[in-house]
């Protein structure tokens, strides 16, 4: 009897072990973490009727919506076949047959609507039918939403619709209303700017005429922490976006750079050189008390928090060239994470915790972007080609990275999927754009 139990137990153990082994193929894990290949939801945008006085407005709505849905990586935008056409772009158009025909054509979700005016506002009505709805409601019901706002927020209304659609099928808010902070050469200085996630509506945040670098969003999205040059030292300042009010957070002697908010916003980690060389410090953002986390004659900089707030990845040249290290949030248990190549820096932890993106220098001496798992077991180079890529920053959904690159000559801001596909340039004019930072949702 005992023998039998033992055999079964061994059997199970071996089975589980084998299963895990098979499970751990790098490709599988990569797909899971970056979600490049999960089955996207086929969605059809039937169209929006234009009830406005301005030509092309409804067309704009459709274009913005399709771009948002494509970027979400949750949907595949499919052009609906001719057999699915609506006589009227309103809720009276719905019938069960329409959705059945859509499903037969491989579409899982249909969206349509109309854009109207109610002075001084725009009115955006949207309707959705999908499998969820046809199972749970009668044939005459659709899912609907009406947004009302001034013409200046039309893009925001559509972004909001896209985020609602992502939310409906994933339970997570989409990223269409997120923002990207960055640095631009402007008026003889480097100034902070904030733009929509798709590169629209850049707004200037600082106007000092000198150096402002490395903006980082507070988790509540109210502030940017950044490095500013003042009195022959680099300080870390805070700016409140809605008011433009500024405070100095760190004014210790020397260089204070690379601020990084803890996930709960309670602590700001940064690199400072007040004690002689660049070390990592942690400041309590309420009491302003500061604690030193690293102690090494080499330079320690670029801290980045794990999403749990328990660990910090950072760059250090304690081993010669810069490499990525990980330590506990109290500075304990320092371990080196990167070993491939002689120049690995600017680590940034993904919002899901599964990857750390960083700048890696290739054998051809080019700065490119790489991913490494926090256990160091998997490493991938995700950009290639000409130019230097740097300053990676994750989207809050963990499906994209924004970064700066000189691939087109001048330094611009780009976004891409985390597997390196769908690279999209976000900045157009200007001479120099750098240090992008993606806002929280």
């Amino acid at each position: 009897m005992n023998l039998k139990l033992l055999a079964v137990a061994t059997c199970l153990t071996v089975g589980v072990g084998l299963g895990q082994l098979m499970d751990s193929g790098a490709a599988d894990v990569f797909l899971e973490a970056t979600r490049g290949e999960f089955q996207k939801i086929p969605i059809g945008v039937l169209g929006y009727r234009d009830n406005t006085m301005v030509d092309g407005q409804a067309r704009r709505v459709v274009d913005i919506l399709k771009a948002d849905l494509r970027r979400s990586q949750v949907f595949t935008v499919v052009d609906p076949p001719k057999s699915i056409q609506l006589a009227r772009f309103d809720s009276t158009a719905v019938d069960r047959g329409l959705f059945t025909r859509a499903a037969e054509n491989g579409l899982a979700v249909l969206v349509w609507g109309r854009l109207g005016q109610r002075d001084p506002d725009m009115v955006l009505d949207s309707y959705v039918v999908d499998g969820l709805l046809t199972q749970s409601s009668d044939a005459d019901t659709v899912a609907g939403k009406r947004y009302v706002g001034s013409p200046s927020v039309l893009r925001l209304m559509v972004h909001r619709l896209a985020d609602e659609l992502v939310f409906r099928y994933t339970g997570e808010p989409g990223i269409a209303r997120t923002q990207i902070a960055f640095v631009s050469d402007y008026g003889g200085g480097r100034e902070l700017f904030v733009m929509d996630y798709d590169g629209y509506a850049p707004r200037q945040v600082t106007a000092d005429g000198f150096l402002n670098l490395m903006p980082r969003w507070s988790p509540d999205r109210r502030y940017l922490a950044f490095t500013t040059y003042r009195g022959r030292n680099h300080h870390i300042d805070l700016v409140e976006l809605t008011t433009g009010k500024r405070w100095t957070l760190v004014s210790a002697n020397g260089m204070n750079i690379t601020p990084a908010w803890s996930p709960d916003g309670a602590i700001l980690a940064y690199a400072g050189s007040q004690d002689g060389n660049a070390e990592i410090y942690a400041m309590d953002t309420r009491t302003r008390s500061t604690r030193r986390l690293t102690d090494n004659p080499a330079g320690d900089f670029s801290p980045s928090w794990s999403p749990t707030g328990r660990e910090i990845a950072f760059a250090s040249d304690r081993g010669g060239g810069p490499q990525v290290y990980v330590m506990g949030a109290d500075g304990s248990n320092v371990r080196r994470l990167t070993f491939e190549g002689d120049y690995n820096t600017a680590p940034t932890w993904s919002p899901r915790g599964t990857w750390i993106a960083y700048v890696c220098r290739t054998k051809e001496q080019q700065l490119k972007l790489c991913l490494i798992s926090p256990d160091g077991q998997r490493r991938l180079q995700i950009t290639s080609g000409p130019g230097a890529d740097e300053s990676p920053s994750w989207s809050p959904d963990g499906r994209h990275l924004v970064f700066s690159s000189t691939r087109d000559g001048k330094s611009h801001i780009y976004m891409m999927n985390t597997d390196g596909t769908d690279v999209e340039r976000l900045t157009a004019g200007g001479t120099y754009h750098s240090s992008p930072s993606w806002s929280p949702v």
Binding site: L3, A7, C11, G15, V16, L18, G19, M22, D23, D28, E32, Q39, K40, V74, L133, T141, V142, A143, G144, K145, R146, Y147, S150, E164, F167, Y169, T170, E172, P173, R177, R190, G209, F210, L211, M214, P219, R221, R222, R230, R232, H234, L238, E240, L241, T242, T243, G244, T248, D264, G265, A271, G299, P307, A315, G321, P322, T345, A346, R352, G398
Partner: protein, 261 residues
Amino acid sequence: MRQWYSVVCVTGVLAVTLLLGSACSKKNIQATADAQEGKAPVVAKLEPPGVPAKPEPQPPKITESPSEPPAKPEPEAPKTAEAPPEPPASASKSEPLTGFEPTPKGAAPPEEPVSGGTVVAKVEPSESARERVQEMQQEQAAKTTADVAGTQLEDVYFGFDSWKIMERAKQTLELNATWLKANPDMKLTIEGHCDERGTLEYNLVLGEKRAKAVKHYLAELGVDAGRLHVTSFGKEKPFCHEHQEACYQLNRRGHLVGRAQ
């Protein structure tokens, strides 16, 4: 008997393997699947609002509020040198999503107002900022150290990714030290600069190492270290903008800026 167990065992192994295999391939295609490891929260849950600034010129307590409604105008906005006081229009946090509502045939969907988005205050440099910038820009405008009012200081240059003082630089610094000792009223800012072939952050650190190497060498030569201030501009203030080695060499520099005390 033995054989029987091994047959069961092999079958069991296969079954469990298949089960696990299917479970994880399913994970791969679930749009809603959360991160595999440990279901760690995407971002830690945050406490409800702390309060924005009190009516005193103190920095705000940084609250961990994700869900704060648009900020009300504060009783008295703290004034700082840099910031023109303007009433906050709304918080920059995006409005939470509410989901779609079932809408009967022919009816208008439920209405939701949309406004604001991420409001960013208009920026204008204040007078003090303008003065400060002017001072900084004057210092910077001097492309070579010799430009700065009557000094005879010369810049020193570095090798790629190095902060070692090279032989030629040693000679330059000896001359600089002699001049500095003869002009005890001059203070010196040593700026470390780098070429563009490194990351922004690494180059700031590297530039500081270069500036410090220059400072230490001058101090060894007998210049009072108290007169020497170091700073770094990394690759942010290049002297030369071409993408070639001749230019890179000019940008790997310890730039010496003298100023009267």
